[in-house]
């Protein structure tokens, strides 16, 4: 009978400082982080500081298992990073000053940015399925788990344990459940065969990094996988907003705005923006072999990316103006380029380096890009709210052919595909929910984009931060939502 090997962590203070992709707060903490803590604890537990021996079979076995399900307390990342200044380890440089009698001089300080995740409860569980219900390495892994002292930073103290738990009991573990999904979701690193050896290699490189020959940079860990994790219930707030670059569309002469009609502008502006990124891709730190997938979303002709990598690409979102007084959807005068989690650096490069560039159609300039940091219209799309409605219709991942139940199924699937929690209220129809939004089937879309199109209005169980975009056309501006009431 199947059961689970469960590693349980209890945080002894209500914070976690672990960071994931791009240095952003990570919650839940990745299974790779669990694995690293087990490896480190193994060295301490059996005092094998140079070469692990005792726990190697257990750790290699663990890395060979399928990635675990994670059951985690709710975690909310701090609103903004805080800058601490910690003393540099260069006190000896002060001695000449001290000898001159300047005894109050203190060591230089270096910046350290702190951005914890606040935990609303204290537990984090990792559940590894045991199809046969057995774990020959339980005693070893239990001893290792109980020797783990920290998870995350050195101030994140934990009490840990490992047990075999039946499936019914595992189902009752309290917390938000995160499971692996084909696309969307939050990317988390997971161990694989070879991770243990790579960790030991990295540790030795770290010990040897400073020697009489100078400083040798330590190559990062290479042997691990990334899996997309999704939770239907976990709150999504500022912790996992996708990075973006925003632009105002000016006339090619730079005098005044450019405005694109709602019905054709989404298709046209997204297309022009995508072409511009393709032409200027060398200006950004996108690995050469990833340009096609990252910008165009395909590998080779007519071969769209699928699977884990499908969501690791840019979204091109033309933004219709929403008037301040009537909340009316109007023409398109802005555009947002949204990157996957962890691409903050590339998005900043795009923001800086594309200002002043032209969107062109058949060689003719149609608009000039002006960097946009913030304005009232942008906030409709990037603010935080529990209620959202579309300004451009969603392209459903299929046709329902009049079957309402099938239509609902397609509608809800879009949330899973995008790694979002399921809404508590959902309405979809051809007529827009906002003044100014046109009938869904009047929007002109790219030829290859199939599926029924509808406007949506949703209420999530908890506020989400935008940008929010759903459906099969979400990389090209279709299925774009605006917040109905933003939190301050």
């Amino acid at each position: 009978m199947p059961s689970n090997l469960v590693f349980t962590f209890r945080f002894l203070q209500p914070f976690s400082h672990g960071r994931g992709e791009g240095g952003e707060p990570e919650w839940p903490l990745s299974p790779l982080r669990l694995y690293q803590s087990l490896v480190s604890a193994s060295a301490g537990r059996w005092n094998e500081r140079h070469q692990l021996i005792y726990a190697v079979p257990a750790l290699e076995w663990l890395a060979s298992l399928q990635p675990p399900e994670v059951v985690a307390a709710a975690g909310i990342a701090s609103d903004v990073p805080t800058q601490f200044y910690v003393p540099d380890n260069t006190t000896e440089l002060l001695v000449p000053s001290w000898k001159r009698g300047e005894v109050d001089k203190t060591p230089k300080r270096t910046e350290k940015v702190v951005r914890p995740t606040h935990l609303l409860d204290d537990t984090l569980h990792y559940l590894y399925v045991l199809p046969e219900g057995q774990c020959e390495h339980l005693e070893t892994l239990k001893a290792v788990a109980r020797s783990i002292t920290h998870l995350g930073w050195g101030i994140d103290m934990v009490a840990a344990d490992a047990n075999i738990v039946s499936q019914p009991d595992a189902d009752k573990l309290p917390g938000h459940r995160w499971h692996v999904v084909p696309q969307g979701g939050v990317p988390l690193r997971v161990p694989k065969a070879g991770t243990l050896q790579d960790l030991m290699r990295k540790h030795q490189d770290f010990l040897d990094r400073i020697s009489g020959d100078g400083f040798k940079p330590v190559p990062p860990l290479r042997e691990f996988d990334v899996r997309q994790y999704h939770s239907d219930t976990a709150p999504r707030t500022t912790s996992i907003q996708r990075p973006f670059a925003a632009f105002r569309l000016m006339s090619p002469s730079g005098e005044g705005n450019s405005a694109f009609r709602l019905l054709t502008g989404t298709r046209d502006v997204a297309g022009m923006m995508r072409n511009l990124l393709g032409e200027t891709s060398r200006r950004f730190d996108i690995p050469h072999d990833e340009i096609e997938t990252f910008i165009h979303g395909h590998r080779g002709k007519d071969a769209p990316v699928r699977g884990d990598a499908a969501d690791r690409r840019l979204m091109f979102l033309p933004l219709p103006t929403i008037s301040a007084y009537q909340n009316r959807v109007q023409a398109i005068r802005r555009v947002l380029v949204v990157g996957p989690i962890g691409s903050g650096r590339i998005m900043r490069q795009i923001q800086i380096r594309l200002g002043g560039e032209f969107l062109t159609h058949h060689g003719q300039p149609r608009a000039m890009l002006e960097q946009l940091s913030s304005d009232g219209v942008l906030k409709h799309y990037t603010g935080t709210s529990a209620v959202w409605s579309t300004v451009t219709p969603c392209v459903f991942p299929g046709h329902h052919k009049g079957d309402l139940e099938k239509g609902n199924e397609l509608a809800y699937r879009m949330f899973t595909d995008a790694g979002l929690p399921q809404p508590v209220e959902l309405a979809w129809r051809s007529v827009g929910f906002r003044p100014g939004a046109e009938l869904a089937n009047r929007y002109q879309r790219p030829h290859h984009m199939n599926g029924s199109m509808y406007h949506l209005r949703v209420r999530f169980p908890r506020p989400l931060q935008g940008p929010l975009v759903l459906g099969a056309g979400r990389y090209r501006g279709f299925g774009l939502f605006a917040a109905e009431s933003s939190l301050p």
Binding site: R10, P81, V95, I155, L207, G212, L487
Partner: protein, 373 residues
């Protein structure tokens, strides 16, 4: 020792089957009362559109409740560790001091503890290097003889062996559901210096309100300071959370010698219990004098690996008595006052050259990688 406390009284905490940690939650309040104003630490603004500077207050967007950092883990450690210089505790640990000209720096005040560059560039340098290398080989005895509080508060020998030991003790103070206040003030010079013809009326007009102006800096004109940080009122209370990680002590070894390992662990446990039960300093900064809240008693528990929590009781005096006995059995290292060694410092800079003196960019990148992992 007081009745009931023996050298082996806490051995169950050192057993691998024992509790994972001891946790303290202590409710505090400003001396002025629970509704008094206290001044948290202020932090510099981050570059870009991020943190604007000021108090570190995080708001939960789901509930609207907030939490303010009053004293960080690092700051608390800097307040607690120096108690081992006090007469009452001084015999528990070796008193190590580095002299440089007229300045004397105690190891308890060195920012990086036993890994601090000042100690490495002293007559203790080789001893410390050997001690850290011994840690890497699984024997923390030498380090405990020189710098045992480094084992309590954590240490990283970042400029040499890279040996790292996690902290056993962590403490932080936070305030909940705070309301931010602001204040304004004005400096008024005692006389009108312009009328005394020290400078012209025009110069006075130009200087007033401009705190970068030399006349304003020197106190010759009116200088307002409006709408600046005015402290907070903590409607949800102020709490100090402290954790003593027993599991971390169990990872200390004296090589393969089990009886020496036990003596080492008892010693470090004793020091940790003293630091843990010590009433941490109540004066944190101007405007922040905190005392215990008599209406909310302390919560002190053992936390087992299963998550079960059991009450824990230990007075500071009993902790001290245990620590004294454990220290006597372990054998406290000798006190040393050593001079700073200029030649060692020069050699440290040139051996490895730019790599050692300018690891900041690479080091920062490594920290980012390490943090990301």
């Amino acid at each position: 020792m007081s009745s009931g406390i023996k050298i082996d009284s806490f051995d169950h905490y050192l057993s691998f089957d024992g509790p994972a940690a001891i946790v303290l939650r202590e409710w505090l309040m400003p001396v002025e009362g629970t509704d008094g104003v206290l001044f948290p630490a202020t932090f510099a603004a981050a570059a870009g559109d991020g943190f604007k500077g000021g108090y570190n207050i995080d708001t939960d967007p789901l509930t609207g409740k907030n939490v303010a950092l009053i004293d960080s883990v690092g700051s608390q450690a800097n307040r607690i560790e120096p108690i081992f210089k006090e007469e009452k505790y001084a015999k528990l640990v070796p008193q190590i001091t580095v002299t440089a000209g007229d300045k004397e720096v105690s190891i308890f005040e060195a920012a990086h503890r036993a890994g601090d560059a000042l100690l490495r560039c002293s007559a203790l340098g080789e001893q410390l290097q050997q001690a850290f290398n011994a840690v890497l080989k699984g024997d923390a005895t030498s380090l405990a003889k020189i710098a045992p509080t480094s084992l309590v508060f954590g240490v990283w020998d970042s400029r040499d062996t890279q040996a790292k030991l996690p902290r056993v003790l962590a403490s932080a103070i936070r305030a909940y559901d705070v309301r931010e206040l602001h204040r304004s003030a004005q400096f008024n010079p005692p006389v009108d210096y312009a009328s005394l013809e020290v400078f012209s009326e025009e110069e006075k007009q130009k200087a007033e309100g401009d705190n970068k102006n030399p006349l304003a800096k020197r106190g010759f004109v009116h200088v307002p300071a409006t709408w600046t940080h005015g402290g907070v009122i903590a409607d949800g209370g102020i709490r100090r959370d402290a954790t003593l990680g027993l599991a971390a002590i169990r990872l200390l070894y004296a090589g393969k010698d089990s009886s020496k390992t036990l003596a080492l662990r008892r010693y470090i446990l004793g020091l940790s219990l003293v630091a843990f039960t010590y009433n941490s300093p109540s004066y944190l900064r101007q405007g922040c004098l905190l005392v215990q809240n008599p209406d909310k008693p302390r919560e002190l528990v053992e936390v087992l690996p299963t998550g079960e929590r059991k009450p824990f009781k230990l007075s500071h005096e009993d902790a001290l008595q245990f620590a004294m006995e454990a220290a006597k059995t372990f054998g406290v290292g000798g006190a040393q006052t050593v001079p700073f060694d200029k030649d060692k410092a020069k050699k440290d800079v040139t051996d490895g050259g730019d790599a050692k003196t300018k690891p900041k960019k690479a080091g920062k990148k490594k920290m980012e990688e390490a943090n990301a992992e």
